[in-house]
Symmetry: D2
C-alpha cells in the first residue's frame, strides 16, 4: 500500500531523531520520487549564516528514504548503504528543498538522486546520489 | 600556528550548530589527523536504537574539518566540497569515535579519509572520504 | 575560444590513450554540456557480453572532460579529482552514449553529472558525478 | 574453495577485456585482501606521461573484484554497484600497484577500500571505495 506524505514524514521522524531536530517536512510523494524541506529557522544557523553541510546531508538522506517508502510502502529495515554529496553553492537564507528521484529500484538495492535547492531558486545547492539496501 | 583540540572544538561548534546538537568532542589533533567523538546519549537515539546515519555524517564531516584546522591553523572559509560515506555496520550503544587522516593536503584541496568505530570495538561502522576546498 | 566536438575529441584522444582504445567519439558540445559515445564493437566485449564497468568509467570521465573543454576552451592541466559512479543496469549490445552536464563551473572546481544510456533506450545504465580541478 | 592469484587473474581477464588491455597482474590473494598491478608500458601513456585516470579506475575495480573472488571463491555475477575514486597525485613512470581490503563482507554487499601507489613509493596515488553486489 502506498503511503501519503504525512505518513512518510511521521515514519521518518519516528526513526531518526535528527529529522525532528531539523523540523523535516515531507511535501509530496510520487511514484519513484519525493520532495521534502527543511524550514529556515534561526535555530539551525549562526547569525548571517546558512544551513550547514550536515543539515543538507540529513535532508538528502531523509528525502531518499521518503522516495523509497513512498514507492515500496512501509519497508522495515531499509538502510542507507552509500551516500555521495557534492556541495555546489551556499544555500540562501530560506527553506531548503530536496527532490529525490529513484534511478533504479531493484530487488535488493534502490539507487536515488537528490537535488537540493533554496526556495525560489533554480540553482542546485547540492547534488546527492545514494543507495538503500532493501530487506 | 597549530591549534589544540580544545580550540578546534570551539571553532567547529561556533561554525556548525549541529555540532553542538550532537555534543561533538574533539579528542586529539595531530599533524594530518584528528580524532573526535559523539557521546552516546538517549537524546540522539530512539529506545533500543543506535546513532543514526545523519549523526554519523555530521561526526565524519566535523572530524575531517578538525584534521584540516589542526594541520593548517585557523582557515577561514574552508568548505566541504565532496563527502562519500559507506555505512557498514550498526554502531553500538556507546560513544561513536571518528579518526580522520589527511590523504593529501594540496594548495587548493585537502582530501581526507575517516573511519568511524564504536568505542571498544575494532569493527568499522562507516568509512568516509571527503574533500575540502581551501581558500 | 570555444572548441568544436571534433577538436575536443582530438584533444582527449591525444591526452588519454585509453580513449583511443575504446574508440571514443564526441558527438556534440554545448555550453556546459557534452555528448559522447563508445561504439559497440566485439573488441570490447566477450561473446554474449556488454560493455564493462571500466569502459563505462572511461566514457564518463572523457565526457565530463569534453564538457569542461567545450565550456572553457583548451584548459591545460585540468585533472579529474573525484569520480563517483553508480552502475544501474547492464548496457545493451549497442553504442553506449554519455551526456555530461556541468552542475557548477567555479574558478577552481568544475562539478559535472553524467548519465549513460544505451542507444535507443531511456533507461540510465550508469549515473556519474565528478569533479575537475581547474588550473 | 579459495582461489589462487593465478586463477583470479585468469577469471578477471576472461570477464573484462580491458583487464587484458592494461596487462593486469594479480600479485597476491589473502583473506579479505588482494594486490594487483598494471605494468608500466609505453603503450598506456603518451611520451612523458603517466598512467591515466581510466587505467587507475580499471585497476582499482579489478583489484576489488580479486579480493572478493579470493574471499568467496568463484562468484558468478558479482557486479560492481558503486565506485568512488579520489585522484591524489600523478603516478610515477613505473608499475602502478593496488591493494584492496574488504571492509565488510555481507551476504548481499561487499564493500572494499583500495589504495593505489607507484612501485617504490609510499605516497597514495588514488584512494577508492567500492561496493560489489553479490548474487
Amino acid at each position: 500500500m502506498r503511503l501519503e506524505a504525512e505518513q512518510v514524514q511521521r515514519l521518518i521522524r519516528e526513526g531518526v531523531p535528527m529529522a525532528e531536530d531539523i523540523d523535516l517536512r515531507v511535501d509530496s510523494i510520487e511514484p519513484n520520487a519525493a520532495t521534502a524541506r527543511v524550514p529556515f529557522t534561526e535555530k539551525l544557523v549562526r547569525p548571517g549564516g546558512t544551513l550547514s553541510g550536515p543539515v543538507q546531508m540529513a535532508l538528502a538522506d531523509a528525502t531518499m528514504y521518503a522516495a523509497v517508502l513512498g514507492t515500496l510502502g512501509e519497508v522495515q529495515m531499509a538502510v542507507t548503504s552509500n551516500l555521495n554529496i557534492n556541495f555546489l553553492r551556499r544555500p540562501g537564507q530560506t527553506d531548503l528543498i530536496a527532490r529525490a528521484d529513484v534511478l533504479r529500484m531493484g530487488s535488493r538495492l534502490a539507487v536515488c538522486e537528490v537535488q537540493l535547492r533554496s526556495q525560489g531558486s533554480d540553482a542546485i545547492v547540492a547534488h546527492v546520489t545514494g543507495t538503500y539496501a532493501l530487506p
